[in-house]
């Protein structure tokens, strides 16, 4: 496993603050507690460019509960709720 040589610990993107930058490590749809099935959530995340190795940055947060978040994924911006962002494990 390469995990041990990472200098930063893995965390779900759903917990990150505005201004956070990192790289997607893997997707963990099971942990998100989304209304979607695991496969559906994972498929949609991939279709919007959330794949392993993509650079992400949290650009904006909503007013209520700092949700949803606007995430820069490589060179596009995607709005997603924190609940679904819990499936995106970053470091």
């Amino acid at each position: 496993m390469t995990d041990s040589i990472d200098t930063r610990s893995h965390m779900p993107l759903g917990l990150a603050q505005r201004g956070y930058t990192g790289v997607i490590q893997h997707l963990a749809a099971k942990e998100a507690g989304s209304a979607l099935s695991d496969v559906e959530l994972e498929s949609r995340l991939i279709e919007l460019g959330f794949v392993e190795g993509a650079r992400v940055e949290i650009l904006h947060e909503g007013l209520v509960g700092r949700d949803p978040i606007a995430v820069r994924v490589d060179n596009i911006t995607i709005a997603v709720r924190r609940r679904e962002a819990m499936a995106i494990i970053v470091a």
């Binding site: 794949v51 509960g65 949700d67 606007a70 709005a79 609940r83």
Partner: protein, 623 residues
């Protein structure tokens, strides 16, 4: 020998500039209809290539994949696979990409390739990409993908010349041998693999500077600020409604005086009698009083189309997501609801972007509460007759403020109704995800907006010429027959069928302050809301006799009390909606029951609101 019509299909992710390319290719030679059996809008256009080949092109709904998650996306998939009923398999698929954002489109293209259809990758908005320092090795990209690639600038004159040339070349060489369709729904690992492949190809062929669009970042710093963004949104909506009320006035006055002089002309040239009454009271004052509102309808669509093209609509959904979530609505519902300000029909149809069934149903049920443009004539008429046009706090027009208040009342009641639905009807509610691309801002294209407004204005005038016209003829007939007996001293209308119907309904409507003339106008108002204004015009015109060529507004100001006027405004916030909206609800929900529920709950709310408004107003001395 004439070559057969060449069938093209435009496929691409949302925000790829598909529609502006479609407009650039076909100009105004467009045909908008529905796909059979579903309410997905089918846009087909026609053009001729430089070599003289006749081409039909269909603009398919935007999609990120061929999985077909929503009715829109299913259409795109079925069309490309040749499974859509009554549709020809496209000879050539144009996969449209936003050149500044190739990742998602290239992945889609890799999936599309499996269908075996001949394809061209169109790198659209290539000028914006170049300006941002993005360079694409077009030849290499074509080789890696195994698909011809062409750049285009849909918004510039001649920006599609290369695409047209390539279309000619390819269509001449189109082989008759069918290529095997090997597409099937992709699993998660295949999706991931195609995205990796797409990323690899992009890394090889495209050089991306590390700087994002600075303008988008700068605008978003304000427009997506948690507090500032909401203030901006409120300001935009406020300006929009002030504009619809104030800026449209000169054009409306012009139309109004045009119809007035036309009516006077008819009165002067034709002898007194039924024909004169029919043309003047039935046709000109009836249809004319609706057409007068064309400027306002154009303005509201102008705002909505501009915001859409600019890329702001997705931001509005982002800002409103959690706020609407409190009322049990999905952030994506914001766009259909905002479109419902123009008309509930496109709004309800736009709910197809919401893939969760319950979220969609809630949105459909409340969409008619958004103040649609057909209510504008009613509001405008009553406001200008009863609310003084003075400024408050020096700069805000009081009439505009009342208008804003009516819109706000519609929005607030929509939120309350949604909350009630969530609380009582859909208890096991799990919030559906909100995932939406926030596209870079783009300057709206004049041509696209103009085509959009033109199509809507045409639809409105068509309605005025058909539905509204036939309702007006009916109203005129009801108000004119039977004719008064010879020697009668009361106005002719007192003896008519309309008066009988209105008077039969009057006891029901008396508690809310409506007289029998209003009762007569409310019935055709269900065919199309704006007819209510025209119907009032006809009823009062016939009642007043031919000498009274007064404005409807002035007549109302003398015939109604302020309490009745306010009650009428309150009624129209809810106004059991027009027949076409009910038909769309029936079609979109596939259920007569939901249509009935919508009609019943709005009727109850309208009655209750009018009852309260009227009685409070009377108690305050406005009776």
């Amino acid at each position: 020998m004439e070559a057969p019509l060449l069938h093209l299909a435009l496929v691409g992710t949302p925000n790829s500039g598909k529609t502006s390319l479609f407009n650039a290719l076909t100009g105004s030679r467009q045909k908008v209809a529905n796909y059979p059996g579903v309410t997905v809008e089918r846009k087909e256009g026609f053009f001729v290539t430089p070599l003289g080949r006749q081409v039909s092109v269909v603009d398919l709904p935007g999609t990120y994949s061929l999985r077909g998650r929503s009715p829109d996306e299913e259409i795109t998939r079925d069309f490309v696979l040749g499974k859509a009923s009554g549709e020809t398999l496209p000879d050539l698929v144009l996969c449209v990409a936003d050149s500044t954002n190739l990742r998602l489109t290239i992945r889609l293209l890799l999936e599309l390739k499996r269908t075996g259809r001949p394809m061209i990758l169109v790198l659209n908005m290539f000028d914006i990409a170049s300006r941002r320092g993005i360079t694409v090795d077009v030849e290499r990209l074509a080789k890696e993908l195994g698909v011809p690639v062409v750049t285009s600038i849909a918004v510039r004159k001649g920006g599609t010349a290369d695409l047209l040339k390539l279309t000619d070349e390819i269509s001449a060489a189109l082989a008759a041998e069918p290529v095997e369709n090997s597409w099937r729904a992709l699993g998660v690992s295949e999706l991931r693999a195609t995205q990796r492949e797409a990323d690899r190809i992009i890394a090889d062929c495209v050089s991306l500077p590390a700087r994002p669009d600075t303008w988008t970042a700068r605008i978003d710093a304000i427009a997506l600020h948690p507090v500032g963004g909401l203030i901006v949104l409120a300001l935009i909506l406020f300006v929009m409604f002030q504009a619809v009320f104030a800026w449209a006035q000169p054009a409306m006055e012009l139309l109004k005086s045009g119809f007035d002089s036309l009516g006077e002309l008819v009165q002067a040239t034709l002898p007194d009698g039924l024909l004169q009454s029919f043309l003047q009271n039935g046709v000109i004052s009836g249809v004319g009083s609706v057409i007068v509102f064309l400027p306002q309808i154009i303005l509201i669509f102008l705002f909505i189309l501009l915001l859409e093209d600019f890329g702001y609509m997705a931001r509005a959904a982002f800002l409103m997501d959690r706020i609407m979530g409190g009322a049990g609505l999905h952030g994506r519902a914001f766009i259909p609801l905002l479109s419902s300000f123009a008309c509930a029909i496109p709004g309800i149809m736009a709910t197809r972007v919401i893939d969760n069934k319950r979220d969609r149903l809630t949105t459909i049920l409340i969409a008619p509460l958004m103040t649609c443009s057909a209510r504008i004539p009613v509001y405008t008429l009553i406001i200008s007759a009863f609310i003084p046009a003075k400024d408050v706090w020096g700069f805000i027009n009081l009439q505009g403020l009342v208008m804003f208040g009516l819109y706000a009342a519609g929005i607030i009641s929509a939120l309350l109704v949604s909350f009630v639905i969530k609380f009582f009807m859909i208890r096991d509610y799990a919030p559906a995800p909100f995932m939406l691309e926030l596209p870079d801002y783009k300057l709206p294209r004049l041509k696209s907006v103009a085509i959009g407004i033109f199509t809507r204005a045409k639809m409105f005038l068509y309605r005025a010429g058909t539905t509204i016209f036939s309702m007006m003829v009916l109203i005129w007939f009801l108000a004119s027959f039977p004719q008064p007996p010879a020697g009668a001293t009361e106005p002719a209308i007192e003896f008519s069928l309309a008066a009988m119907i209105g008077k039969a309904l009057e006891p029901l409507l008396a508690p809310v302050g409506f007289n029998w003339q209003i009762a007569v106008a409310l019935i055709p108002g269900m065919a199309a809301r704006e007819v209510a204004v025209a119907a009032l015009g006809t009823v009062y015109a016939i009642e007043g006799g031919n000498e009274a060529v007064e404005q409807i507004g002035q007549v109302l100001a003398t015939k109604w009390s302020l309490a009745t006027a306010l009650s009428m405004l309150a009624w129209y916030i809810f106004a059991p909606q027009c027949a076409s909206t009910l038909a769309v609800i029936r079609r979109e929900t596939g259920s007569w029951a939901w249509m009935g529920v919508t009609f019943a709950y709005m009727l109850v709310l309208a009655y209750a609101a009018s009852l309260v408004t009227y009685n409070v107003a009377v108690a305050l001395g406005a009776g």
